[in-house]
């Protein structure tokens, strides 16, 4: 009986650790996607969200963004920042709820925050795909763009996990 209890406790510890690691990874991916200027890449240009890196005479120079649809760019900036903020908030709320939630209850607040973060990054990536660089043939999407979509998937999975997970009751 004791052995079963110990094993069960170990299993729950592992699950908890796994969830926290996944959450921290998601936060890191979101931060990289937001901060690194690499949503659109060509041979000599790496651009977007905040500025433009241009390779002239084998030196990278940082310049401003010009001739962009302002409202869409700023919406993408805002929503990706919000996604980062909500993901970080969700982590803190999860840790707080681990200690304060009555047994047998679901982590609803954490799940909701994570769902909002998922929504925000989805809005950001969608608007970017639809409105910016929609007609350009030269170049392709950079690693920040890819990371944005990957973190969308992760945040969605985590949100669903939090909404289903129950605090263990004895």
């Amino acid at each position: 009986m004791k052995l079963m209890a110990e094993r069960f406790q170990k299993a729950t510890m592992l699950v908890l650790a796994g969830i926290i690691v996944l959450h921290i990874t998601t936060i890191i991916l979101l931060l990289v996607a937001t901060i690194d200027n690499a949503w659109w890449i060509t041979d000599s240009v790496s651009t977007d969200l905040w500025g433009r890196w241009e390779l002239t005479k084998s030196v990278w120079h940082y310049t401003n963004l010009e001739n962009y649809p302002e409202e869409y760019l700023q919406t993408v900036q805002a929503t990706s920042v919000l996604a980062c903020i909500f993901a970080i908030l969700a982590l803190f709320v999860f840790v707080a709820q681990l200690f304060t939630l009555p047994k047998g209850q679901r982590f609803t607040f954490t799940g909701i925050l994570q769902l909002i973060a998922c929504l925000c990054i989805m809005i950001a990536a969608s608007i970017y795909t639809a409105e910016l660089h929609a007609n350009e043939t030269l170049g392709g999407y950079g690693h920040s763009y890819v990371l944005a979509w990957i973190s969308f998937v992760f945040t969605f999975l985590l949100a669903v996990t939090y909404l289903i997970l129950r605090k263990k009751s004895e």
Partner: protein
């Protein structure tokens, strides 16, 4: 010895500057300005030599899209010479300080045609080998803000909305709790009042001072007697509102039950069935002391405590009752009356 040192220093002074004789010129990389405004283009240099009197600065301008550059400013022999024929005629002013190696110029009243690259070349004889540095000028109708107003507005409003929702949620819970408590107070208070009036009899005093006195007396009596309001009411399935008095009563009752249970388990110690249950009291007692602590800290009997029902039931269940308590109100009534 001294001559050797002197020779060595002379040789060193001779060698070192020759190797690093390049002059390094610093300007900005890019400058933004509004149409009609003035802009100061800064240029300074670093040189191993002292600033000589023959130091020269010269600025040239290359428009965007053109390959030719024209000279617009030259400083030499201690005097500045500005453009008097070209596109910057009467618009360039020297604002630098050659003594401090600063060769900055001020360009006034900018226009869209001033977009281009400005190159500063400084020479500090005998230090003349160096690469000129360029600064790009961008003239805008309105200055572009990178993370703009829309970004800040969206972020601020969403976060503000979140904070508002959380505050409203907790406020509603608190208000509902108060309302439920006060409603049940008034309901039970009416019932008890009717009961006590029947016992005492007729004629309340007409004098206002006497009325006040009787009210205060009654209040004092109330504190020693069981309170006239129900002390336990259900807020929802999860939460119970319980006054500090009730907390105290249940804690004491629970303690008494715990002692009785312990005594019982000791008497029946030889029966193996009871032995399994005795460790329960030890496990309950920490929770019991927690409840007692909570009861002690409340000062007035009407202070409301919100208790999560499951835990409360667990505690009092484990302590002495052989089965879960179904009605707390009945328990209180039985205890006190």
């Amino acid at each position: 010895m001294l001559t050797f040192l002197a020779l060595a220093s002379v040789v060193l002074l001779g060698i070192v500057p020759e190797q690093s004789q390049a002059i390094v010129i610093y300007t900005g990389w890019e400058r933004h300005a509004l149409v009609g405004s003035d802009i100061r283009l800064s240029c300074s240099f670093f040189s191993w030599r002292w600033t000589s009197e023959d130091v020269t600065f010269s600025w040239t301008y290359r428009p965007d899209g053109s390959r030719d550059s024209i000279s617009i400013f030259h400083y030499t022999g201690g005097a500045p010479y500005v453009d008097n024929k070209g596109p910057f005629r009467d618009r360039v002013e020297f604002v630098g300080n050659p003594g401090r190696r600063d060769g900055s110029i001020l360009i006034k009243n900018l226009d869209f045609n001033d977009n281009g690259t400005f190159t500063c070349d400084a020479k500090n004889p005998p230090d003349i080998v160096g690469r000129p540095s360029s600064v790009r000028l961008l003239v805008f109708e309105k200055v572009p803000i990178q993370a703009g107003v829309i970004t800040g507005a969206i972020i601020g409003s969403v976060l503000g909305l979140l904070v508002l929702i959380v505050v409203i949620y907790y406020l509603m819970r608190f208000l509902v709790a108060r309302r439920v408590f006060s409603l049940s107070v008034s309901k039970h208070g009416k019932k008890k009042k009717e009961g006590s009036q029947q016992r005492q009899g007729p004629a309340p005093p007409a004098d206002p001072s006497k009325v006040k006195a009787s009210v205060s007396e009654k209040k004092k009596q109330d504190l020693t007697q069981p309170p006239l309001f129900p002390i336990i009411s259900t807020l929802s399935r999860q939460h119970w509102l319980i006054s500090s008095e009730a907390l105290y009563v249940c804690a004491h009752r629970g303690k008494r039950y715990a002692q009785e249970y312990k005594r019982e388990s000791l008497t029946y110690a030889h029966q193996p069935a009871r032995l399994d249950e005795s460790p329960r009291t030890e496990r309950c007692c920490p929770s019991m002391s927690d409840l007692m602590r909570k009861a002690k800290y409340k000062k007035s009997p009407t202070q409301i405590t919100q208790v999560k029902s499951k835990r409360f039931l667990e505690i009092c269940c484990k302590i002495g009752q052989k089965q879960p308590v179904k009605s707390w109100k009945r328990l209180y009534r039985d205890t006190v009356t």
